[in-house]
Symmetry: C2
């Protein structure tokens, strides 16, 4: 008897595929061999027209739905949206979720062993771009027998991948769902990433990226990077209603290093927990991929021109209190799609939770995503 | 012949005063002896009713106007507002600007030598609050023969001091000018401060605050603290128009640690420069003073009740793109003043520069401040 809810994909087992053909990268280098780890939920139909690709954000991974074991404490990171009868309905769709190249959850990345040296890649791992990821995902699609995605779906950095799919492989994607994202980072976005990178690279345990060789981890830097990142994921309001000025203990300590407020304790915990489970080089790589993303640059900054060749229909969604990728950043994308005379639906969701809202089961959001996904035609 | 502009206060010499009577602090400790370093511009009139106190913000100091030498590159930090004929007109006012206790620009602080140990106070320096500062400023007023300030003026953390003056010494302040400030920090404000503090205290060179004894400085931590702080001083828009996605060199480097964008280079420079001139313990102390400021807490969170006893007229000003202390934070103050039936003027200035706007010569802002200050009555 199953211990999982009826709308859960239940027990899932990650799969992996090795690619031997070198992947030519934007940076000029090529990567080979490499592995991608992924999960699938639901079944590919005979027409192979019901496949949906889920692209993850900065600290995400392939485990988007279901459970790896019966006693796993939490399901995959987007379990609220993926499952039988859910917004991305696994009764209809064959859902694929991978760990991006350069990640630290099983796909080849900086902490993987380089076949050339027998040691961790570390600093020698090549920088990747959103375009590189899309090309690697296209190869995974080939392996899975998916010639064309019914939809590519992602939030934040994942939304950039969905958009890049529409640009790089117009005939291989029918619907692009770009949530809480932007067509490029602003100076402020880059600035926050740079603080995170400086925190990591100035940590004495970073050793120019080759910390594995020294048997250490730049934990302090990673903790700080996550703390600053975390603030940008939440809205001022949501932090206020969650923590306000609640004190840790009844009385103030009045010293320079004590934790006085709940929000400090929460942030430290988030940072410390993250620093124990995420790879520092991967964090640098993910922030760089964000910074570099700017598909319009190849067309002199003209986003409409950049989108001229896309064939996918696009759904763009943003959240009112998201200040990392505010609704204004989504308008840029929507306006360019309209200027390029493309089919686009846009929805701005009233939500207090800031950027993090895209991961949360906000009814209006789930309904809208569900409505859109249900209208995507697939062969029964 | 003077080499200074006609509206400059010209050459100024910092003064200092030693206080031997212990200052009782909010934390329970007492501090004695201590010194305050300050500057004055203009002359105190016979009625002693034309004195204006300038309170500085997080990284400020006593040098608010004029030059310390003929070849000083930049004048004091608020020279745009203080001088003969300027908004705070030194032809009318006797202006006093001090370095707060706990600072690192001459007043007694963590890097001062403790008379008890003969070594730098370091971690043993007591935590200070805005209230403590106001009490120390009141003693300086006594020394200067100022029974009542015509006005106490400050931006950001300085505005909190102006407000606290009106609360702590209602009969000693006629006008309170609180610019780009808030009646208390939000959870997000505290969170950013906590990132800064963690950056400093996890720097291996911090040595629990006693870095002076080790002959080192936690430069990496201070640099990161300043970088994250600096982002919050600027608006997304102003960073965008200042830097956009301008590249440092013509081509992208595509590696994990290179500076690619101008904004990264700017932030690193700001952080590095700051880390060489500011004391880490003072930075911790200033952020703690910000966190602790919450005058309404003593009245169960009722700000109007807290302000019931104030006699000063208040001018509150905010800037449209300030997201560190947004206009909404000023409304809280204004609404409480109105609820307490106090005289208050409020102005929201259209400005693209974010929180930093309060330091800049924005015409509408200078005019408004000037207009208000000129209407303050002083004996001729």
């Amino acid at each position: 008897m199953s211990t999982f809810a009826a709308d859960s994909v239940g027990l899932v087992t990650p799969q992996r595929h090795s690619f031997s053909e070198p992947l030519q990268l934007t940076c000029g280098k090529a990567l080979a061999p490499y592995e991608l780890v992924y999960e699938t939920y639901g079944a590919l139909n005979a027409a192979a027209d019901n496949a949906v690709l889920i692209c993850h954000a900065l600290s995400g991974h392939h485990h988007a739905a279901g459970y790896h074991s019966a006693d796993e404490r939490k399901p995959g990171w987007w379990d609220s949206c993926i499952g039988p009868g859910k917004a991305i309905d696994t009764n209809r769709f064959f859902v694929v979720s991978l760990n991006n190249l350069g990640g630290c959850h099983g796909s080849t990345g900086p902490s993987s062993i380089s076949p050339e040296t027998g040691k961790a890649y570390g600093a020698s791992f090549p920088v990747l771009t959103v375009e590189d990821w899309v090309h690697s995902q296209a190869r995974l699609a080939d392996v899975l027998g998916v010639q064309q995605w019914a939809a590519v779906v992602g939030g934040s950095l994942g939304g950039m991948q969905a958009l890049q799919w529409a640009i790089s492989y117009p005939e291989r994607i029918r619907h692009c769902v770009a949530i809480a994202t932007a067509p490029k980072l602003s100076a402020q976005n880059i600035a926050f990433n740079e603080v995170a990178r400086q925190a990591i690279t100035t940590d004495p345990d970073f050793h120019h990226g080759d910390y594995a060789a020294f048997g250490v981890i730049p934990k302090r830097g990673l903790m700080l990077a996550r703390m600053v990142g975390h603030i940008t994921y939440l809205s001022d309001d949501s932090m206020g209603s969650k923590f306000g000025r609640e004190l840790r203990s009844e009385q103030l300590n009045y010293d320079l290093t004590s934790v006085e407020f709940e929000v400090e304790s929460y942030l430290r915990y988030q940072g410390q927990e993250f620093s124990g489970r995420f790879d520092a080089n991967t964090y640098l790589l993910m922030t760089k991929a964000l910074d570099y993303f700017d598909p319009a640059a190849a067309h002199g900054g003209d986003l409409a021109k950049t989108l001229a060749g896309i064939q996918a229909q696009t759904l763009v969604m943003s959240f009112t209190t998201d200040w990392r990728f505010s609704p204004a950043r989504s308008y840029e994308l929507v306006n360019a799609l309209l200027a390029a005379k493309k089919q686009v639906s846009y929805l701005e969701i009233e939500a207090a939770q800031g950027h993090d809202a895209f991961l949360l089961p906000i009814p209006r959001y789930i309904e809208a995503l569900s409505g859109y996904m249900n209208r995507i035609e697939v062969t029964a």
